[in-house]
């Protein structure tokens, strides 16, 4: 296996930077192309549509400057780690809003993503190994059924069934409202209990596709010559699976996992809505609806950054786990 060269890392890094710049520029342009003036909207909501008030707000937000000056300020701010100040939540910095919301998003999305991949890998592998068995038929059949169900419906079923009617789990929130939770572990337990339904819903809907993919990968690998050779050599089935089949079958799934982790900061809007769960998804949606340019830009900048960073990381890891990937 070849080692990673400096040239390879530099090429990937420059490519990542360029991708990031394109994404950040779109972040700047897209909200402004939606139509509607945030200052006039605020004036119409609270100040009898006063033109003077709208102008004062425009000056406060820096919207009276030319589009190029706004773009230069935006990029300049980003370089210094300044994401600007939210319009609708003025004078709260966008970075404060994001840092407040994002840990909750990461908590449920990352746990559910990892759990979902783990379970999908296990079930997919077992189904492939027992191809044609009742377990395989059940797993594949159920997967197709689950995959056709929209996420919000699964979420609502869980809230109404396990939350509202049975009362086994809380219907929403990240913690019990108003509860006095003494020590760290009591809080951690309370948070974990509240995260159960959101995580479960995300696992259920994402499991099927990943499981089918893993099953197909294993089946494909098992038809390769080197597996036939390994079987002919009389190697044990478990050894063939762990030493030869799994390592190759997991490669496409690894790409999927890295992409999912990169997108995790984008949040899960439907989860936040259905379970009244704090997070970045709803913040982004409301920022878009209220034309809060800095907040939209800030959120998408973080998403772009994390997707680009994780992809860069995947580019670095891939040659290590798959020697066929060229480093040039």
């Amino acid at each position: 296996m070849k080692g990673i060269t400096v040239k390879y890392v530099c090429k990937r890094f420059i490519s990542a930077l360029f991708t990031l710049w394109v994404a950040l520029t779109f972040n700047f342009l897209l909200p402004r192309m939606m139509g509607g003036d945030p200052a006039e909207y605020l004036a119409s909501q609270s100040a009898l549509g006063s033109a003077e008030y709208a102008q004062q707000v425009r000056e406060q937000f820096g919207l009276d400057k030319s589009i190029f000056e706004q773009y230069a300020r935006y990029l300049g701010g980003l370089f210094q780690g300044d994401l600007g100040v939210s319009y609708t939540n003025f004078p709260i910095p966008v970075s404060d809003i994001i840092t407040q919301a994002i840990p909750w998003t990461l908590l449920v999305v990352i746990i559910s993503t990892l759990l979902s991949f783990l379970i999908a890998w296990i079930i997919g592998t077992l189904a492939a190994l027992k191809k044609g068995s009742w377990f395989d038929n059940l797993a594949v059949g159920t997967s197709f059924y689950i995959q056709s169900i929209p996420y919000f419906w699964v979420g609502m079923l869980l809230v109404m069934g396990l939350g509202y009617y049975l009362g086994w789990f809380p219907m929403g929130h990240a913690m019990t409202p108003g509860a006095e939770l003494g020590n760290f572990w009591a809080k951690a337990g309370n948070i974990a209990y509240h995260a159960c339904l959101p995580v479960l819903s995300l696992v259920i809907v994402s499991l099927a596709g990943r499981m089918i993919m893993m099953r197909s990968n294993i089946l494909q690998v098992f038809s390769e010559d080197y597996i036939v050779l390994a079987q002919a050599k009389g190697l044990r089935r478990s050894k063939i699976l762990t030493k030869y089949a799994l390592r190759n079958a997991l490669l496409p799934s690894f790409t999927g996992l890295m992409l999912s982790l990169g997108q995790a900061v984008g949040g899960a809007i439907a989860t936040e809505i259905i379970f009244s769960y704090p997070g970045i998804g709803l913040t982004i949606m409301n920022a878009i609806l209220s034309h809060d340019y800095p907040l939209v830009q800030g959120c998408f900048a973080i998403i772009a950054l994390s997707v680009v960073a994780i992809n860069f990381l995947a580019d670095l890891i891939y040659p290590l786990i798959d020697p066929r990937v060229s480093l040039d």
């Binding site: 006039e40 009898l48 609708t88 003025f90 407040q100 840990p103 409202p177 108003g178 009244s276």
Partner: protein
Amino acid sequence: MKKRKLSALLALVLALLLALSGCSGGTGGSSSASSKADAPESSKAEAPVSSKAEEPASSAEESEPEAQGTATGGTLRMGAYVLDTQMSNKSPFATSGTFTDMLDILYEPLFTFNEKKGELEPALATEYSWNDGFTELTFTINPDVKWHDGTAFSAEDVACTMQILKDVPTFDQYALWDKLSDVKADGDKVVFTCSQPFTALPRYLTKVKIVPKHIWENEDAENFINETPVGTGPFAWDKYTVGTSVELTAFKDYWNGAPKVDKMLIVLYNTSPNTTLGLLNGEIDCTTGTIAMSSIPEFTSKEFAQMDIYAGLGNFSVLINHENELLSDVAVRKAMAMAINQPELISRGEYNGVLPTSIGWLPDLFGDYVSEEAKNSLAFDLEAAQKVLEDAGYTKGDDGIYQKDGKRLSFTYHNASGAPAQQMEAGMIQQWLLNLGVEIIPKLATWPELTSLAQTGKYDLLQMGINFPPDPYAALNSCFNSSMTAPAGESTPGLNYFRYRSDEMDGLLEQASAETDEEKLKDLYYQMQDLLAKDYVFLPMYNSSGHIPYYDGAAVTGWTDYEASVKSNRNLINVRPVG
């Protein structure tokens, strides 16, 4: 062994994420509510001297109508549709992005506006009086008021608050300082000097929450986010748990009597359906006014459930662009207004949880200023509506659409995207207009886009809400004065998105702006509303009414219907646990 390693790893990941989440609890500490005090006397309000001033509620009977209950303690659990982002800034001056219902509990104005009665009621001031020329307004400060940190309230606090509004123009949303020249504290009085007669000033001041000088004078008010609010309201700030709840504690020194519950827990929900589910499930005792309208029948069928429905300071309507050649014909506007079945719109679209918008514009909360004649002048009658068009020379084409001189009655109709109820109601109205013989081309836009289209006149028909302050003059002037509009393509300087221009209306508004005689003013308002009703300026839908669901008798009781059940501090102090 491997298992132990895995669980250790998972615990580490969870601990890391929890630490990132800031699960250490609230962002603020408890405010130091001062020591226990005896229940204060009833408000010392007296009738204002001015002939224009409203009669304030002054009796103990009204402030404590349920005084027969003796139980105290416990927690009032209120649900609110509020996002975490709205909890970052707790400045009562911010005009967006804050949790205003909570700030209304923590902070108070000099007088409050009773949205059910349309009256001003004393709060931080006991009375007010005008000079003869209505250019000098003097408030007498309520001596019983204390700030949550125990400091005595004074006239200096009011002067400081008004100075902040002057220093930061974006806080002065109604541009009060355009008409004010000075605000001065003088002992237990505070004197507002106006550069011109400004009879509506007391009503506008109900929107100005007073802040403590001893805290705010040391801060840069424009950027001060007020982490731990100190106000004068019946409940004091305790703590906020991210995305979950706000906890307030009863302020025992409250000037109008200590609340009968110890605590108020405001549970935050991300959406209206979640808030409703919490209410139906009994997680909360009331909401700040949020309920999924389609759940009203289910909620009201529950034991102890009550709905408080009253007029609000805003109207939903279908805006008509009077610069459109066909829509400039009053016959077309009249026929369309008559073709809309307003009672059915309210019953099917809003489950009778709102009140109708009057074709005369002013909602019921303006009491005697509301013209009953204008209000009752419009009734649904499809056949009569078609006759109006035919009498005006319109004929129905083969496609069922009326036309005149080769021009078909075909209009674009904008309404809000991402708002299911608005879209459903738009569908109902569009169908009624089609039944009349008017073609509609539906278009969707976000709220800010709708505002922009309305302001620049790039629409034919547009469905939206318009809000106004508790002043009938402002409600009429900002929406219907021709100086508040602009030619299509230019932004309007006010809310006259209709592009309605009437010399008669302008004249009436000019007279009203200088009128100080109550009866004459009332007559002018009647004439304006009657004129609007005659001109069919817009298609009325419903008032942006208060619709507050609450349980009376389940966990808490003591609500009164004199004021809005949840949104009035006079009401909140009376709520007590059952038993």
